[in-house]
Structure formats: structure tokens, C-alpha cells
Amino acid sequence: MFTKFDPLKDKMLQVMDDNGNVTAPSLKPDISDKEVVEAYKLMQFARTADVMAVSFQRQGRMYTYPPNLGQEAISAAAGKIMRKQDWLVPAFREMGAWISKGAKLRDIYLYWGGYEDGSLFSGAPHFLPSAVPIASQLPHAVGIGFAIKYKKEDSVVFAFVGDGGTSEGDFHEALNFAGVWKVPVLFIVQNNQYAISVPVKKQTASRNLAIKSMAYGIKGIKVDGNDFFAMVTAISEAFEYARKGNGPVLIEALTFRRGAHTTSDDPTLYRTEAEEKKWEAKDPIKRLRGYLVSQKLWKETDDKPLLEQYKKEVEKEFSIYENYPPYKLEDVFKFHFKNMPDDLKKQQVEYEKFLNWMEARK
């Protein structure tokens, strides 16, 4: 696969066309119809949660949020391959992978709603909190990969980054360390065309992003990131390659962020409606639905009840966030050190005295 889709020749792995017709049957992954339907449902579930998050933010019920719209196939494919013992090192725009790893929607809403508790992901081991400084999480993935190898564990790290992240020094240091140490890490680059407002052609003179693997002596492949089947094929092969001790793989998943960078961003400033329309036609959910309908595994009319059910689930999870207990003063302090230093205790105590004084004035 890595030879056939040579980044130097700018080849891209693709299995189905924009309408969901399988054009490369030999590359279609060996997964059951039921599994494909499950993946479709996960994509729909993540999209429902995502689109509703944007509207919750607009209603002032949540803070800044980075929409996932249009990128769901990448996460669904990663989620399909990722096992319980594998690690997820997220950036912040891969909600489907978070859900597959065991995050509950309430966690996601708690995090974007202003509680660190949202990063605890209780019951979901091997899952790092979101990393806001771009690409800085990638060296962590490599360190985890080192530990896996050191302890001779059967585990693979799934690390996410965006196209802009490939310009950061940490991207390059991470790939370099990973290559030298030959660690089981999959670097999944969601190339969604824009780093906030800056297009890929202003990030790099490279022909594509997968090509960057070559300088580090590791495998790389460019994949149609809106093609669920292509993503599953690429990730499963990379996964087996890494798991068997051959080292890391860089996967460039070509996609498009249909929404804004975050709810604070205005994409009309930097991209055209024509471009958005072009990518709408390549939407990953639309394509997979096209496949399912053509195979009689799904009916267009099945969407409506599914989405109704998901909206209810989202509302329920969101209400858990909205009814979450108020932020406690001690929660500001208590997680900075295993044993809190006296200095920090003193600062908390002084604030408590102030609160008592305020209380007494009432």
C-alpha cells in the first residue's frame, strides 16, 4: 500500500467516488455490512452532537467550540480500528474518535463548557486530554510509543494533528524521534485545507503532507479523508505495520472543514462559497449513505428517526453538563501537585477568608 500510493508521486488512496460508488473494490476493507452501518451511525451521532454544540454555543450555553463538520469519516475510521489498549492523543477536532475511545458527550460538553472535569474521561483509559497548542501533543504520542515498546505491550498510539500543525517544530521533532526510536505511533494529519484562515499552500511548499514522512525515514500515505473505506484501509494497514514493530506511519487525510475554525471564526473572510459547495459534494456522510443505500443496507428515510433519537440523546447529555455542580474553589488548586505546597494552600485559605467576609456582610 505504501509503495502503491507513493507520496512522491502525489498518489491518493481512494475507494469510493463522491456518490458512494466503490471504484476500487480491491482496496475496500474487509468489514461486515453491520460494521459499516455502525460506523455510519457513529458519524451521524458525532455530527448531531457537533452541530448541536455549535448551536448551544450560539445560544450562550457553552463557550468557544471547534466544529467537526465534514471531517467525520477520519474519526470514525480511527475509532473502528482503535482498541481499548490503544492510546488516543487528540488535537481537538476528532469527536468521533473521542466517542469511540469512551468519552461521553457530557465530558465533551463539560470541557468546552468550562470544566476541567471534562478531560477526566472516567472509564476511558489511554486517552489524553485535548492539547490546545498546535502539534505540541505529538512528542507525547512518541513518548507513549516508547513506553509501549519499553514494556513490550501490545498497543498503538493514534495521534491527531491538522495541516497547520505540520509547520510546527514539534511535528518534525516528533516524527524524527518516532523514526529513530521506531515506535508504534500513527500520526493522523487531518488536512482540512485551512489553519484558521491560512490555506495549505501558504504552510508548505511540499507537494502534499504525506511526503514529509520521507525525510524522517518513516512510512507515509495520502488518503481521501472523506472516504470512510479508504480511511479504514489506510489506518488498518498502518496499524498492523506499527503494531508489528515496523515503526510509525504518517497518514495525511485529505478533507475539508465545512464549519468555522471555532465558533469565534468567520470563514467568509478567507474562502469562497464555490469552494464550500465543491466540498459539500464530497461530504463523508453523504458518500457513505450513498454506498449504504445502493447496497440496500439503509434507506434515505431511515435518517430521520435516527437523527431524532440522537438529538434526544444529545439533549440529555447536554443537560447533565448544564446541571453540573458549580465549580468549587478547591478544584482550582488541588490538582496542580500530588501534595499541595503550603504556598498554594495559603492562597486558597486567604480566598476562603475573603469569601467568609463577603458572607458575613450579607
Binding site: 492510546w87 492523543v89 476541567e116 472535569d117 478531560s119 477526566l120 474521561f121 489524553l128 486530554p129 492539547a131 497548542p133 505540541s136 501533543q137 505529538l138 512528542p139 507525547h140 504520542a141 512518541v142 513518548g143 507513549i144 510509543g145 516508547f146 513506553a147 509501549i148 519499553y150 514494556k151 517544530g169 514539534d170 521533532e173 516528533a174 524524527n176 524521534f177 529513530v180 490538582f335 496542580h336 501537585f337 500530588k338 505546597p341 503550603d342 504556598d343 498554594l344
Partner: protein, 327 residues
């Protein structure tokens, strides 16, 4: 307990050796630390003893070194990494400030960052640019970090063992000027010195001097002149920069009424400012002179021909002590 005469390099090596021996999760890496044993030979022979799997040379990339160490921590290892000189730590600053110090809080205690970031620091050694600075305040200012600076081989060993065993990240700064300058008896085997506790090196009644690292020796030389002048100095070796041992400063300054902070770091917003705040908060009513700091100039440490102006001589320290006592 049996003891051996050691310098600080040997004592640090001994501490790492002991922890590699008693904890399979300890790994040691950095630039040149494996085959060569580090440019100061602090990790000499450790690769021979424990193998390349546990003691190894990394690529020359500080952010990568510290960032990968954090990944190792969340997966249960206990890395001890070396930054070759504190002046080269800045590429790793993003990892230290944005992740290492924050992982425990961000994950609500699910993951810790039980690593030690060792680095030689400090000047007056006739070195190139970037080899003479004292950036401890930069780290001590970051919530979530512990900053430790030993001044003797004995303390270096005991404090490093505590640092490696700490479940929180420790920036362990080694005063390279005295790496080989001081020898003393250091007990064999494992012992630890608690982090966050200073030590009174000399008791006195007229003035408290708070210092740490390589400056301790210069203060002790200044104290000879002070004694001759009839001034009784109480010397505190802080040993941990954060968390500060407030209690030891409080007790001492309440007794002496005067305090001089001696550091190599630049003056403005430096460790001296913080320590004077502690004095003001804890011993204000006992003060008989303004709490004073003798720090580096707010300049870049000059290259070798000019460095004698920047680094404090014992005479300069005595001059400041005398001024305060005569205030």
C-alpha cells in the same frame, strides 16, 4: 553507614545509579548522555551498567526530549532527562510550560508528569554565550513546577533521589561552577532530602543571608570577613526554589531583623523579589533594615573578559552585608 568522598558530579551520578537500580520505570536520556556519559560526565558508565534501553542518547532536540518524556510519564515511566545547558532549554519551554507543568491539573489527577529535567546552570566559568545564565525564576514562576538547586554533593544526591521519586515534575538545576569544586563525604546507598526544606548552614544573630547553589560558597567566604568585622551572619541555603521554605525564612528574619538575598539571576522580577515578599509577609514587624537583594545586573552575563563585573565576589557580598548591618 559507609560514606565516600565525592564531588557533585559523582553524587548526582550515584543518585541516578541508585534509582536506575531500584526502579525499572526510570529511564535516562538526553544529548550525549549515553555513550559519552554527558558533556560533564554526570551520567558516565550508566549506559554500560543498565544498557542502551534505559540510558541513551536522544536526537539533538530539546522540545522532543521533554515532550517525549511527558508521553513516557503518562504511560507510567519515570524519565530523568538532561538538558545539556540551561541556556538551551528554551526550545523545550513550550513543553515544560504548556504541558509538563499542567498535565496533572488538566487531566484532573489522572496523569502525572513524574519526570526530572536536569540541567547545569549558572556562570563565572569563562564560558561561551548561553552557558552562564541563571533562569530559575522562569521555572519557579510556572504553576505546577518544582525547582530544586543543591549546593553540595550530599544535598545533590539526597535531593535528586527525592526529585526522581516525586510524582510531580522537578526542574533540577545543577550549579556547574561547583560540579567538581567541592568534595565531601556522601553516604553510600539510598537517602533522601525533603523537597521544599531549606537548611541553616550557620547560625547568627545580626543578619540573615538567603542564597543557594554556587553562591553559597561565596557567601561563606564573605562571612569570614564579616566575622572579623564582628558581624554574626545566619546563612540559609534555600535548596528548593519552589516551593519556598517560608518557615525557615520567617524564623530567621524574625530573629535577626535583617536580610540579604544573594542570587546570580538578574534583579528585576527575579528570585530575590519573591524572597523579599516572603520576608515582608512573614517578618515585617521584626525588620530593622530594608530587605535587600544582591542579584545579577539586569544584563546578559558578559563574556569571560567581563564576567567578573557580573558575578558576585565575596568582597561584594561582604560590602552588602556591612551596609545592611550599619543601616
Amino acid at each position: 553507614m559507609k560514606a565516600n568522598v565525592m564531588n557533585m558530579v559523582q553524587a548526582i551520578n550515584d543518585a541516578i545509579n541508585i534509582k536506575l537500580g531500584d526502579d525499572p520505570n526510570v529511564v535516562v536520556y538526553g544529548e550525549d548522555v549515553g555513550v559519552e556519559g554527558g558533556v560533564f560526565r554526570v551520567t558516565q558508565n550508566l549506559q554500560k551498567t543498565y544498557g542502551e534501553k534505559r540510558v541513551f542518547d536522544s536526537p539533538l532536540a530539546e522540545s522532543g526530549i521533554v515532550g517525549t518524556a511527558l508521553g513516557m510519564c503518562v504511560a507510567g515511566l519515570r524519565p530523568v532527562v538532561e538538558i545539556q545547558f540551561s541556556g538551551f532549554v528554551y526550545p523545550a519551554f513550550n513543553q515544560i510550560v504548556s504541558h509538563v507543568s499542567r498535565m496533572r491539573n488538566r487531566s484532573r489527577g489522572k496523569y502525572g508528569a513524574q519526570m526530572v529535567i536536569r540541567m547545569p546552570y549558572g556562570g563565572n566559568i569563562k564560558a561561551l554565550e548561553h552557558h552562564s545564565e541563571s533562569p530559575e525564576a522562569l521555572f519557579a514562576h510556572i504553576p505546577g513546577l518544582t525547582v530544586v538547586i543543591p549546593s553540595t554533593p550530599y544535598d545533590a544526591k539526597g535531593l535528586l533521589i527525592s526529585s526522581i521519586e516525586s510524582d510531580d515534575p522537578v526542574v533540577f538545576m545543577e550549579p556547574k561552577r561547583i560540579y567538581r569544586a567541592i568534595k565531601q563525604e556522601v553516604p553510600e546507598g539510598k537517602f533522601s532530602i525533603p523537597i521544599g526544606k531549606g537548611k541553616i548552614l550557620s547560625e547568627g544573630s545580626d543578619i540573615t543571608v538567603v542564597s543557594y547553589g554556587a553562591m553559597i560558597r561565596d557567601v561563606q567566604r564573605a562571612m569570614i570577613a564579616a566575622k572579623e568585622a564582628g558581624i554574626s551572619v545566619e546563612l540559609i541555603d534555600l535548596r528548593t526554589i519552589y516551593p519556598i521554605d517560608r518557615e525557615i525564612i520567617k524564623q530567621s528574619v524574625r530573629k535577626t531583623g535583617r536580610v540579604l538575598i544573594v542570587t546570580e539571576a538578574p534583579t528585576s522580577f527575579g528570585p530575590g523579589a519573591e524572597l523579599i515578599s516572603v520576608v515582608n509577609e512573614e517578618a515585617f514587624l521584626s525588620l530593622e533594615a530594608p530587605p535587600t537583594r544582591l542579584s545579577g545586573f539586569d544584563t546578559i552575563p558578559p563574556l569571560p573578559k567581563g564576567e567578573h563585573f557580573y558575578f558576585h565576589s565575596p568582597e561584594r557580598i561582604f560590602y552588602e552585608i556591612k551596609k545592611l548591618v550599619e543601616y
